[in-house]
Symmetry: C2
Subunit: 299 residues, 2 copies
């Protein structure tokens, strides 16, 4: 049976370390704060619940949380104007924009408007490009989490050089940045998608499979080389099997954990794998941005 | 025998098209200009010859060329200050920095200082990140040239979806950006390097091989699937075989063209392949940057 990579434990260790750094910054009269922009949407309740959870998580580490709400009718221009105002506000050092944005708003324009030094989700083009240059910077949190979890396995650090990694899915802020990070580590990186011929056979040759396709239970045991590392990035809510009411839901990933865990050597499960580490990486970026702002001279 | 992809002919077509666009901008009283920074180095003659050739190439398209020279003792701070001055100069719309830079100067810092809207070599982190987002932008010229040459083959456009592409070499401004561009095209992208196990066998399964390793004649016939597309990005000066004086040199690539052309379906040769198209792509970026500046309101 595969060893489960305990993302919750990894996240707890990261948070503990961050708590100490937040306290140290606060002692220098440099409170750490996350500013988040939330544009109201049809699914208003879900977004607010998410923001409230985020505020609570921040508070538990001593991080302040400032939510900037815009009405659902907000235009792209208004969103960008708010970002620009927060970019130049010396009290703001960590800024993120909650998804989804209203229809008609160009996500790229919004992401590109965020000051890269404050972009704690690591989604501005400059921060994505910094990954390609292997430059220490604020990188996308999910991609950072995947790398962090691989580093919990025997393929940590330099051991990954030359190893085959199959990434299933090539999305802009998950699959592609992970690929760029792994190229920086000198792995043999195979970026695959729904057009890839005989993907299971290709995955079966890989020492690492990163499942980021957004398809529940896509990766089954026949995709996995015995002993391989499997990192599950997917997150889906599906009905519980056998529930006659059909209303009970459970969280599953892109990996069919029941079958894959009989073949893989290491498995990052869902829930309890990439998810909590991604949240911890966002907080790590917040603290890093605050520390950088504290180190830079006031302007 | 492989069909040779005629990079010189492709470049000539691009230049013809650019000439018309330069004339159209000039007619709107918007002269097109390339500003280049050259920091003197030990190999001063070579850099100046290159700059003179570049000036001549620009002139042939009606593009002005302004060379900004700094002494070899120029510090990183001085180079960045010059870039910042040119960033804010409304007469400058296309800016590049010649390599190499003096020892001790951080290339990333220099590249990151260039205004992405004027960065015609496409090397600023924001422009590299824009590739990941598939956002129309100024991209690295060599990567653009490789994509342009693939588009001369039957795997042009959508035909590349799901096709296996092996990229040999993962450098920051060639191998990695090409990988990101190909992911955007939904190819199955395999980024390989010197640590990759049995690279010839992997390459032999690919419909496209992009050779960008910086090793002369690395890719031989046994690396190539019959009928595959092979794009040679390497450029090396090697002694002419059989020359008793040993001083005669010829230009070769990363591909052993003699053997590979007996197996490949399409081959982009060296010289006459990626090289001239890369130069044309730089000029295309210059014209694009000038056109964007002309379209934007004066500030």
């Amino acid at each position: 049976m595969a060893t489960l990579i305990d993302g919750s434990a990894v996240a707890a260790r990261i948070r503990q370390n961050l708590r100490a750094r937040v306290d140290a910054l606060a002692a220098q009269n440099r409170p750490v704060r996350l500013d988040a922009i939330l544009v109201s949407s049809a699914d208003e309740t879900a977004a607010h619940v998410y923001a409230q959870n985020q505020a609570r998580t921040c508070k538990s580490l001593g991080i302040d949380y400032a939510l900037h709400e815009l009405p659902a009718v907000a235009s792209q221009r208004e969103i960008v104007q708010l970002i620009r105002r927060l970019n130049t506000d010396p009290n703001v050092h960590a800024l993120m924009v909650h998804m989804p944005l209203p229809p008609g708003v160009d996500i790229y324009t919004v992401r590109a408007a965020i000051d890269p030094a404050k972009d704690v989700e690591g989604v501005s083009p400059a921060n994505i490009g910094a990954i390609v240059y292997e430059h220490t910077s604020l990188a996308p949190c999910t991609a950072l989490a995947v790398m962090r979890l691989i580093d919990e396995t025997p393929l940590a650090g330099d051991a990954i050089k030359g190893k085959r990694v199959v990434i299933v899915g090539a999305s802009d802020i998950v699959g592609k940045p992970i690929a760029a990070m792994l190229m920086g580590r000198e792995a043999t990186v195979m970026s695959c998608n729904k057009f890839t011929d005989d993907l299971p056979a290709l995955a079966r040759e890989a020492e690492i499979v990163v499942a980021a396709a957004g398809v529940a239970h896509l990766v089954t045991a026949d995709w996995v080389k015995p002993g391989a590392v499997v990192v599950d990035v997917g997150i889906h809510r599906v009905p519980v099997t056998g529930d006659p009411t059909g209303v009970k839901l459970r969280t599953v990933g892109d990996v069919d954990a029941d079958s894959v865990s009989t073949v893989a050597g290491w498995l990052s499960p869902v829930p309890g794998g990439v998810g909590p580490v991604t949240v911890a990486m966002l907080l790590a970026n917040v603290v890093a941005a605050a520390a950088t702002a504290a180190a830079a001279p006031d302007e």
